[in-house]
Symmetry: C2
Subunit: 458 residues, 2 copies
Amino acid sequence: MDAVLRYIESNRQRYVDELIEAVKIPSISSSPEHAGAVVACAEYLKARMLDAGLTQAEVFLTPGHPIVYGEWLGAPGQPTVLIYGHYDVQPVDPLNEWVTPPFEPAVRGRDLYGRGTVDDKGQVYVHLKAVEAHLKTSGSLPVNVKFIIEGEEEIGSEHLGNFLSAKQDLLRADLVVISDTPMLASDVPSICYGLRGIVYMELEVAGSTQDLHSGSFGGVAANPAMVLAQMLSQLKFGSGHVAVPNFYDRVRLIEESERQALARLPFDEPAFAALAGLPQLVGEYGYTALERIWARPSLDVNGLVSGFIGEGSKTIIPARALAKVSMRLVPDQDPDEIARLFEKFVHDITPPGVTVAVRYVHGGKPWLAPYDHPAFRVALDALEKGFHRPAVFIREGGSIPFVATIYEVLQRPCMLLGFGLPDENSHAPNERLNLDNYHRGIISCAHLLDGLAALSEG
Amino acid sequence: MDAVLRYIESNRQRYVDELIEAVKIPSISSSPEHAGAVVACAEYLKARMLDAGLTQAEVFLTPGHPIVYGEWLGAPGQPTVLIYGHYDVQPVDPLNEWVTPPFEPAVRGRDLYGRGTVDDKGQVYVHLKAVEAHLKTSGSLPVNVKFIIEGEEEIGSEHLGNFLSAKQDLLRADLVVISDTPMLASDVPSICYGLRGIVYMELEVAGSTQDLHSGSFGGVAANPAMVLAQMLSQLKFGSGHVAVPNFYDRVRLIEESERQALARLPFDEPAFAALAGLPQLVGEYGYTALERIWARPSLDVNGLVSGFIGEGSKTIIPARALAKVSMRLVPDQDPDEIARLFEKFVHDITPPGVTVAVRYVHGGKPWLAPYDHPAFRVALDALEKGFHRPAVFIREGGSIPFVATIYEVLQRPCMLLGFGLPDENSHAPNERLNLDNYHRGIISCAHLLDGLAALSEG
């Protein structure tokens, strides 16, 4: 390992420079006009996998965005690790709030700013650079490695399920490692064992066939913007509880032992609120903040638009109003079932004078798994070696549909090693990655590969 | 009058062509980038006034957009008529819904399409062309005429009040005629004796300093878009009543005699709904549709925006959410007082976890006046001569702040002669003006000038 660690140290700056090149590619998966950049990013990544020393790399086309696969299988008898990440990124608006442009990565202080730095190109590179360090120093890896880096994570991984079913042999592995989550806090390296699922809906209210003059029709025309507001307000109770009937029917209660474990984590609510720029934390009564984020479902309005939104005034009754609404789900909620409950409730509360359309945008299942396999002990050690701090077990409020799917398919331990921080603005302007954590992550992952081999021998 | 009527008939097409030229100027008063076009439109109108034969015309600058004044005062002993209109227009979005571009006027069937055709350039031209017909045939007008055509009607006529106070001598008149309203229906020429007032507000909810990941923060962060929806939904009861406390304190009840007069008007609710593209009419219980539009206040959301509104999905908790909310007022509600009540209520219902800003955008008083002055009889006759149909007395749900102001200043009869139709999309895409009504309006206004002179002699 000494040569590997020296290689990582002496290539520290080059590793940053190479990540910068990857972040420059505007691989926004939700944006049709960026489809070309998404494909370009997949091809770029394939080439970098071969540069790192993988023996094979391939771009698999799907009906949506491509999936990049890479492998090194030269360690017979050793376990095979499947590493998952994604190269697609979130949209960048509001663009004017970025200090430097999202696809012109810039280092300020100890952070690299740019869309995709932490979510998830930086975390993909952590693994790729750990693998490179092994391969360039010894010519081999301690274990077998497969990479699967997809291009639709930010839009619900729609075509990943079919790919996993079709390529089961190619993806066979003993352990799955995913890096697409944050650490609990700075200096608290974390292993995540649970994710929330998601269901993302659009809700559109239509009144007249066109915008109407609010003087000539105010008092007789249903106002789609007001109706939308009224309907959205009925989706949640003041208590923070979601009001969609039967929404909680399948929600698994948090076990007392887990509540106690979560309560012991080094988590500071006021500091967390301050970090997020929030005046205070709010939410469902009777649960701690970590429980609400990790183990309770939530409902959020992600976007709203209706009528005149320019500067100044326009006195209209808008013809239409649109909301994007997503729900984070916990075991054993099912996204398709929740989507149906949502749609039924919306139709039940639609008032006269308007018509309503509900569209299912994407969904993914929640995931929760035990962490008693010996590989988790290896991961704890590897993180402690990289960060010089003890690691903890956490859950995560976000959603990675891949994890539930691969867990169902492979029935193997999955571990989420997060190298981001909660305030690094994934999904927001000025997304960034702490470059010290990038470096520590690479060291940790190099140790992880080494430790997993030892495990097999032991 | 025969020569005048022949002149109108033989110049019918030219009158349309000249209106088309005026509509081409994109004089959107609410849009800072159109400020140059607004000034250009004022200068253009001044030149057209002189072309028509007015002896004097002037563009008065204000701290906002200019006011165009014109006069012909060559009839000593005769009454002076002050004609009011506006040359500014509404914004044009959603632009993609226009069949032909808003500032490239196009004739389809009997209609001229374009922004400002009916609201209000066409109606200004009705008067200007009637005046021209008199002046070009006899070299004089039957009465004295003053024009005041403003450029801020669509944004609340902010600077008109000061102008009226400063120029009282210039504006002295015996009668005020305003054409900026629709007829009750096609073939029902109408004289309007009441307008609703308006107060236009912006309401902005702020949560975090930036958009947050809805997975990492869903369940603990107040969602400004949801909070905005909850607050908007509290502004109105399900009954259609506005819920702002004390909102109705000064609302004058509709007199029984007026209710009966309104009930006799030829107004067909289902036809009106169909014309507006509405599935049905809704609103406050216990009032007819005309009463709700004309004599009851209303509250409408004019625009909404928050978070991600592009195609596809983005899983954020938006940092901010903005609504534009306007209320139409009836006598004796006061816009400033209503704005204060609104702002107080909004702050009273603001939940924890967010901050709220309320901004007053513009306001104007409601207006209601008797119509027993003999000039109204002259106007009825003039409209009947132009349209070959009996005219009726109506109110209007829209707002023209000028009217209440000039009525207070001059204490003279004000009459609103409307030449538009309720479905001509003022404030919406595909605004249009029926060219038969344009022609009939010009004839009616030529008769009006003639009849008002006879009134003075009688």
